[in-house]
Symmetry: C2
Subunit: 378 residues, 2 copies
């Protein structure tokens, strides 16, 4: 329980397209024009800096949106689970990096073997036992499994702590028959507070560099040095880093805006919700609860999302299917039955709650698209 | 941002069946023997008190588990959304209460009309405009739509504030052609802290009684007085209350145990997770992140779940697919690749993240059952 009570970062003036009429709420609404613009922006930023862009598709879990990213110059995709890899590979997107220290045993080993046999798979590794299991899973296949050694650049989640440990894991991986092609990191400490991303990106570059130098000194051909998160991607795309892996930038969310990682105009997804009750004084209730917004809330955000149409409203309490929204007296409140847009705090787990999203352009519905990899968490 | 820093409630000594071998993690594991025992316990508690039991199936979203509850004496089911009602009705479970102030407009009105035409539906209402829309949705059908007026018993989420408001909503409902059969409440303030459930249950009984009296004085035949949540259900099942609607009791979770609403032995569901990394000192990482455990955490709980096998471990930080678990030095930690059971903080949103669960008896797998109404949040 290390809850900090940081002051809340004020919301910006949002710039959200009007919601289409007649939505069955709660539902996801994605502004395709804006998502495409975001894809082009990051594609151009990577190209200008001469680095490869390999977006993390856990954000949207959509084959169609992955294609938007590939069309805007992405070199391949990043996933977090074998389940995601299976879904995208089935549609022919087969240059896939599993940025995760996969533990390949039992059915996971079988699945890894199967997908490696039919795609260009790369997998993360941060331990010698992890490498042993990866190698055993693909034993006997003609193509060696390529791996990147994960480096802890300050997020203290996964990844080896120092260059010596990186060399030890890389040697073991090589010894058991894996092909070590480089190093990767995720500077997750970029999410700790507004402003943290600058130092976090510098940490990524510095620690990836140190690990890459150590591996090269030990005889490894380090062809890939991969950094990234949406807050750090553009900042880290310099010098020795030759690949970035942002994900959230495509759809945007309230946390990214608060972190100054994207502009307010970068938000391409909202949850549409209906006002279903106003019987308690000083609040209204909308039908997007924890099963559509999630209880994700960074310590520097007030409430569980932002309602652009009612900037003084705070989504104070979430239940499974209700959100209680407080609003100061004297402030305009929505009417019963009104449909409001909510900018979610964190888009990735929100998307994972829906089977489909409403695809729009300029506020008009152009389709209902599947969240192809929804629920593929294993 | 009204985060309280209440001291954490210590976890009990858990009593969890051994996990079956060879699970593909993360996954839900449900102990059927225990769920059935929970169903019998609540069924007996309701029967002894002479009240009807109408369990809220949003907890498990499983037709098979709803059948377990019906077999143990439940009189019907409660749902939170039309989507849930549709799923259960399609399987022939058609005595359904939508305990929600449904706003019936557009496709929701069409869906309500359709399901009312083929089931024994009852719907919640807490406003005159809400009643108007419900009535319009079912206009012309032969059977009137039955409604219960929702009362705010102290949770301050939805429901009318006082008996006069209950009468006003009931009159409007009657005037527009709905059949008002009673009142209901959800004493959600029972979740605020350990011990709160006793006063919350008393509030439910008192305020339901006052509203029922006012309705009767106004000429309404109040046949149903419905209370409940798992923390208050048994306490409120006395005197005038003639129906209770607990949900979580069937599977149990860490919050309910901390609230003293169920015993530690009542937990029938765990999330199985694999240790995938131990590269950061003082912690290990498991593969159940926010997309399998959710960030639900009551202020009186430390961490995002409890690991019975490692009682000193704290699930400190959640990412989409990783959980970073801190463990004091000198304490036994699990090995890489070990599969651990996690008791989730709040079972309802966790179940909603999975398409299936592993059904077990005495630690052996007996099937892989669907979460039939997963994602039916609208």
């Amino acid at each position: 329980m290390t809850e900090t009570n940081a002051p809340a970062v004020p919301d910006p003036i949002w710039d959200i397209a009007p919601l289409p009429p007649a939505l069955d709420t709660p539902c996801l609404v994605i502004d395709l024009d804006r998502a495409e613009a975001n894809a082009r922006w990051m594609g151009a930023a990577a190209a200008e800096r001469g680095v490869a862009l390999r977006p993390h598709v856990k954000t949207h879990k959509s084959i169609a949106l992955a294609q938007v990213q590939l069309d805007a110059g992405a070199a391949g995709i990043t996933v977090g689970t074998l389940g995601e890899a299976e879904v995208f590979a089935a549609d022919g997107i087969d240059d896939i990096f599993v940025a995760y220290p996969l533990w390949a045993e039992g059915s996971k080993a079988d699945r890894l073997r199967s997908i490696h046999a039919r795609t260009q798979l790369i997998v993360g590794v941060d331990s010698a036992p992890g490498a042993d299991h990866l190698a055993a899973a693909v034993a006997g296949l003609s193509a060696p499994l390529r791996v990147l050694v994960e480096i802890d650049s300050g997020g203290h989640r996964t990844g080896v702590a120092d260059p010596a440990a990186a060399v030890a894991v890389a040697r073991r991986a090589r010894d058991v028959g894996l092909e070590v092609i480089g190093v990767f990191t995720h500077g997750g400490h970029s999410y700790s507070a507004p402003g943290a991303r600058v130092a976090a990106a510098a940490d990524e570059v510095r620690l990836l560099g140190a690990a890459a130098d150590a591996l090269r000194a030990d005889g490894f051909a380090v062809e890939r040095i991969s950094a990234g998160s949406t807050p750090t991607a553009v900042l880290a795309a310099a010098g020795l880093v030759n690949e970035i892996r942002p994900g959230t930038y495509l759809l945007g969310d309230r946390t990214q805006v608060a972190l100054d990682a994207i502009p307010a105009e970068g938000v391409a997804l909202v949850v549409a919700a209906t006002v279903v009750s106003s019987s308690v004084a000083g609040q209204f209730v909308i039908d997007s609860g924890a099963k559509s917004l999630t209880k994700d809330r960074a310590p520097f955000l007030a409430g569980f999302g932002s309602i652009p149409g009612y900037p003084n409203a705070v989504i104070e309490r979430l239940y499974d299917y209700h959100a209680a929204v407080t609003i100061p007296s004297g402030t305009p409140a929505p009417a019963l039955g009104e449909v409001v847009a909510v900018v979610p705090n964190h888009v990735c787990p929100v998307v994972d709650l829906f089977d489909t999203f409403v695809a729009t352009r300029a506020g008009a519905i152009v389709g209902r698209w599947p969240v192809d990899a929804r629920g593929r968490s294993s």
